[in-house]
């Protein structure tokens, strides 16, 4: 495992990219006879925007699910902050500081936007049931302190006006933003975004791209995202992993990936003669 601060560099636009924060080594994931991911290795560096792309069914979401602990791979190791991560439950992974959003929104529909985002602060709030029942001392202080942080994120993502609205009543684009807010509220060391722009129109995509860049810039968050819109991916990301049929076929900067023959074949198809 490489040293965390080793070979850090600065990008053209002046962002500092740190050492490796998460490394996947030879991950293989099978569902019965189906091999969803086959022997894939890649790493995520601190502060970078890392994209995972590939055609439908390539195993991108499965990869994200492995990172967030939803699936445990049959083979391979996950290294997080320099240590090998044992198989764990999704909530344990979340408590280690990995937050995510979902391809089809997974918000708590019956709760208000504020409550949804506050739920994201679960890692930062530790007062016991008894203290909460009385609502004095630690429980109250904690609630107020975390509310302040949450309000900053709500301001940042421009969802102040819907703070007290139940999420079930919101339109799709706003729900996506609320979900991002909930993931951000956890102050994650890695933020996983599963198709943050699926089903959006051009303006909404531009908004979302701006938020992702701002989040990365402002909070210094490490972001790993899956996205189908190539324009977005090439513009946003620092490095790209390309998957096809569960295998890794390319890895590198957007320019390198764009000129990779295997990637071009996978996306455009290849003539068999």
């Amino acid at each position: 495992m490489k040293d965390m601060d080793a070979d850090s560099y600065t990008t053209e636009d002046g962002r500092r990219i740190g050492g490796v924060v998460m490394e996947m080594r030879n991950i293989t994931l099978r569902f019965g006879g189906v091999v969803a991911i086959k022997d894939i290795s890649f790493d995520i560096r601190e502060g970078e925007i890392r994209a995972i792309i590939g055609p439908n069914g390539a195993g991108k979401s499965s990869m994200l699910n492995v990172i967030s602990g939803f699936y445990n791979p049959q083979e391979g190791e996950v290294y997080y902050k320099g240590e090998r991560r044992p198989p764990m439950k999704p909530y344990q992974v979340a408590q280690q500081g990995i937050a995510r959003t979902f391809q089809n929104i997974a918000l708590f529909e019956g709760m208000t936007v504020l409550d949804n985002v506050m739920t994201g602060r679960i890692r930062q709030m530790s007062s016991g049931l008894l203290a909460q029942a009385i609502w004095k001392g630690k429980a109250e202080r904690e609630e107020v302190a975390n509310r302040e942080q949450v309000e900053k994120i709500i301001d940042f993502l421009e969802i102040q006006h819907i703070r007290k609205t139940p999420v079930g009543r919101l339109p799709y684009g706003l729900k996506k933003r609320v979900e991002l807010a909930r993931a951000l509220a956890a102050e994650p060391s890695i933020l996983l975004l599963d198709e943050p722009m699926a089903g959006m129109n051009v303006e909404e995509k531009e908004d979302m791209s701006r938020f992702i860049l701002d989040v990365n810039d402002e909070f210094g968050s490490t972001i790993a995202l899956i996205e189908h819109d190539m324009g977005v991916v090439m513009d946003l990301s620092d490095r790209v992993v390309v998957m096809d049929y569960g295998k890794k076929i390319g890895d590198g900067t957007p320019d390198e990936v764009r000129n990779n023959q295997a990637v071009i074949d996978a996306y455009l198809g290849v003539a068999h003669d």
Binding site: A99, D115, T119
Partner: protein, 358 residues
């Protein structure tokens, strides 16, 4: 017109997250408390306490408890009657074994014991959901009632199989037994109701409540965010059991005085409390009160109108009462599936603008 939040500005997050953020609501709440504590005890008589106030107060606690489990955490339970019986029998055993300890403490301890039992029967919820869980809790209902019927130790081997509340006092005033004054029983229960409501409200507006609601709304997402489903579900079962146990203890010790388990805590009770929660409004503390009031008051009201007002024979009125209550329940669920609490919310929205159209 009557109801405004305009001009009611908040300058701190504490103010914004309080139970009644709107001034008008807050003052109304204080007024209700004042009337309940300072006026009602002086004007009520035996009939009012036994027919209306005690059942209303005690069922309110049970409904709050069940609402935490079903309305907030989304785990359906049909074992409420059985858990109330646990509270009642725990209270009986404690009262008999430690006569020198205050009944106040006994009732809280009964809540604690019920919480432990409820937690035990909540374990299947980690594996099963929805209707299947409801059936599993139904097993708790039958098992607990059977146990209290058959195991002599629980009723101290009394010949009748009943348990009778011995006389106990608080500050020298009898609370249980034949000597109890109506106002004393009323006030004693009222204290528990107010405390339960405040505790339930505090829990549900804080992190505990958010975890429960997260599990209710989407358990997989909740887990990925960092909610430990085991802890969240079991804590809901325990807290719910605590309130249900207290209500069971009060039901036995203060209200009935003598209990035969199959009759007082049968499956009917489970359904009654579940109906209160559904009619009142899932996921609302106010709804628990509204539901309890609806199902306690409606039969009393109908009886008074039919027998007292129209002079019908009692048995005819009793049967008609069932039909009318049943019909009203169906009507309510069709017209407003989110219960009385939602009806109240809609009324408030309307009152904000009244008499202007918008």
């Amino acid at each position: 017109m009557f109801y405004r939040e305009a001009g009611d500005f908040k300058t701190s997050y504490t103010e914004d997250s309080q139970t009644f953020p709107i001034k008008f609501d807050r003052y109304r709440y204080y007024a209700v408390l004042l009337v309940a504590f300072a006026v009602v005890p002086f004007v009520i008589n035996d009939y009012w306490v036994n027919a209306v106030f005690l059942p209303f107060l005690i069922y309110s606690i049970a409904a709050i408890g069940l609402n935490i489990l079903v309305g907030y955490c989304g785990q359906v339970s049909l074992g409420t009657g059985g858990f109330m019986a646990v509270g009642a029998y725990a209270c009986y055993k404690l009262m008999v074994a430690f006569p020198e300890v205050s009944i106040f403490i006994h009732i809280i301890l009964s809540g604690g014991i019920t919480a432990a039992v409820c937690l035990l029967f909540g374990l299947p919820s980690l594996r099963i959901k929805g209707f299947y869980l409801a059936v599993a809790t139904l097993a708790a209902q039958f098992f607990l009632v059977w146990t209290f019927n058959r195991v002599g130790w629980f009723y101290n081997y009394s010949a009748s199989g009943q348990i009778n509340a011995p006389e106990r006092t608080v500050f020298g005033v009898p609370i249980t037994g034949a000597e109890t004054a109506p106002w004393a029983a009323y006030l004693f229960c009222l204290v528990f109701v107010v405390a339960s409501a405040i505790i339930a409200r505090n829990l549900t507006r804080g992190m505990a409540g958010r975890k429960w609601m997260a599990i209710r709304d989407m358990d997989i997402a909740a887990e990925i965010i960092g909610v430990n489903p085991l802890k969240a579900k079991l804590s809901a079962f325990a807290v719910s059991g605590f309130f249900v146990g207290i209500s069971g203890a009060l039901f036995f010790a203060v209200y009935l005085g003598a209990v035969e388990v199959g009759e007082a805590f049968g499956i009917n009770k489970s359904f009654l409390v579940l109906f209160m929660v559904i009619i009142g409004g899932l996921g609302s503390i106010f709804g628990s009160f509204a539901g309890a009031a609806f199902l306690v008051l409606l039969p009393v009201l109908l009886k008074n109108v039919l027998v007292g007002g129209l002079g019908w024979p009692t048995d005819l009125a009793a049967h008609l009462e069932f039909m009318i209550v049943g019909g009203l329940i169906i009507m309510f669920l069709v017209l407003e599936p989110h219960g009385l609490a939602q009806l109240w919310r809609v009324a408030k929205e309307k009152l904000r603008l009244w008499p202007f159209p918008y």
